[in-house]
Symmetry: C2
DNA sequence: TTGAAAGCGATACCAA
DNA sequence: TTGGTATCGCTTTCAA
């Protein structure tokens, strides 16, 4: 006789007993795997409804040598809108395929990422989506040993652990640098945040600096320590930058939110945009859609990036062959917060 | 003899065998539960490092009749910054107590929430944190039967399923309404988004309307269908509202992001703030920190709300007695986007 | 301090 | 179309 277990949860065995069939038959009905009569199906389903049975998927995964439907998703922070958009794209897409997101906020540190990876792996996830291409030695070891599908997103990686989805951040910074140089700017500034790990923003800055220096200009950097890349750091980062460098002609920001903060600072100080100073952002974030002047920026579809990352994960899980390197692309939005031609 | 299992994962049995002890001894060492010699501990740990053993927590939970360290967290959407702040507060706090967030984006619908609840419950979570106090009948049934700690957040619920953390949204809207009435405004507008479920924004609007009507004024509403409460809906919602009602003196928005969108629209049309029209937001979001004029708004600490929600969950899990109803509070930020006194 | 055996809830496999 | 039995990795219980 099947006995109720210690917890108050209804088990498959109880459903089966109540329906007068074996566990196996009940299991087959619940999975719709066939091999049972319509009469049996009805008996079982009636008891499922009656007892309010909810399957214990832990047991399923455990029994089957399979992995779960969880996908671990690591994101640096939620205060930076680019990442919330990516996450939304990932979770919606994963959800539509019956997968669940287990979130990990790494705060841009290898240490947090490593701890999170260790924990999430212990739950036998189906796969992992990680923001960034840089991981600690021990993380890499765990990831390789896991044998799981790993999608690294954000900064395109030509030789990823498994699959990479993103854009080339260096190139996007380079393109912005070249564009500003082409407009005659030579004395440039950069405002961003500063983190422990080499990240995509750093790659953008490197690309930007390269293009500017190639064009005979220079970049003065202002990195705000340990802050989220949002409006206020853009505001006070600009204040700090301009207090030490009065002669800057144009400032490039880590993202549009920071650029907006900078724009507000400059406006508050009575500077005209772009006559007195140029402003360029990155990401083409929602705020750009309501500004009076079109913000000069780099357009990236963050939501799509997340969706593609999730699709590649699903592809890997279904055993399809998946491209190693998936470039989402970007393009420059000229805008009107920088001057439109070389001054005479 | 312990044999390697079919998967490539290293099991506790293999570690034990390699160390020349029993599974139980290895298990005790790994849990640090005592009852073993230092020599044994070293032998076991040496093999753990050597083999790269990662515990299978599924098996732990499964064996122990316990629940996992997962906490299911449902949030309507990530496009609305108030929710990303709440989520960040929750995840950081949960993480610091060794719990993991399983994310659910419900898109403000009962149906999505119900499906997500069903799935997440099948993973034997430790508890659930749900945004909103309104759930489908079947959701309520599942939640009650689960016997799990449930923290309902956002809209304070005097008789929650289990624990409620949030603020009284009706009151916050009411306070804003009364404030604007006190400044002499009578012809008011509201711009927000529209969703299937009765939600907190609706409660704010109700409170606002009540206060305004009590004060002899009226509210003209503009609800944008199925849009995220961000900048652009604020912009075009204002356009729509003003196209049908030219005589409005002041507009209250669902949140600060939408208010900023509205502010941009009005400015673009050459209207002066607050001389020609007043603007009031809600939430005191990061963007308010960089605006030239202080935005009239309702301050709520969303991050703290999330942290408190997570703390209450931890409290429930540790068996502490937890207050049923936890009011985070709010306060009105006067700002300068509405006029400062009654016109003569 | 250590170990052997039972059992958690589901599924795979084989037998009826 | 059904059902019995072994099994997954770990912990609990009881014995040595």
């Amino acid at each position: 006789m099947e006995k109720p277990n210690k917890s108050n949860k209804v088990s498959l065995a109880e459903v089966a007993q109540a329906a007068g069939v074996s566990k196996m038959t009940a299991s087959r009905v619940l999975r719709g795997s066939g091999g049972y009569s319509e009469k049996t199906r009805k008996k079982v389903m009636a008891q499922v409804d009656l007892l309010g049975y909810l399957p214990n998927r832990l047991a399923t995964v455990f029994s089957g040598e399979k992995n779960s439907t969880f996908v671990g998703v690591s994101i640096p922070e939620l205060g930076n809108e680019v990442f919330t958009q990516v996450l939304e794209g990932i979770d919606r897409k994963l959800g539509s395929f019956g997968h669940q997101t287990v979130l990990g906020l790494t705060q841009h540190t290898h240490e947090e990422e490593e701890n999170w990876i260790r924990t999430v792996l212990s739950w036998q996830p189906a796969g992992l989506i990680l923001t960034g291409r840089s991981h600690s030695i021990r993380s890499l070891e765990m990831l390789r040993n896991s044998g799981l599908p790993i999608v690294e997103i954000w900064d395109l990686n030509s030789s990823p652990l498994d699959v990479s989805v993103g854009i080339n951040h260096f190139d996007s910074g380079f393109e912005m640098g070249r564009y500003l140089i082409s407009l005659g700017y030579r004395s440039l500034g950069y405002v961003g945040t500063s983190h422990d790990t080499a990240n995509a923003a750093t790659a953008r800055l490197d690309g930007f600096t390269k293009a500017v220096e190639d064009g005979g200009g220079s970049v003065r950097r202002q990195l705000c320590l340990h802050d989220t890349a949002s409006f206020y750091p853009g505001f006070y980062g600009t204040e700090q930058l301009l207090s030490t460098s009065q002669d800057l002609e144009c400032v490039f920001y880590q993202n549009d939110s920071m650029a907006f903060g900078g724009l507000q600072f400059c406006t508050a100080r009575g500077m005209r945009i772009p006559e007195d100073i140029g402003i360029a952002g990155w990401g083409d974030l929602p705020i750009a859609s309501v500004l009076h002047k079109r913000l000069t920026s780099i357009h990236v579809s963050h939501l799509k990036l997340g969706q593609v990352a999730a699709e590649k994960m699903i592809g890997r899980l279904s055993g399809e062959s998946v491209a190693t390197c998936n470039d989402i692309g970007f393009h420059l939005m000229p805008g009107s917060t920088v001057r439109s031609n070389i001054p005479v």
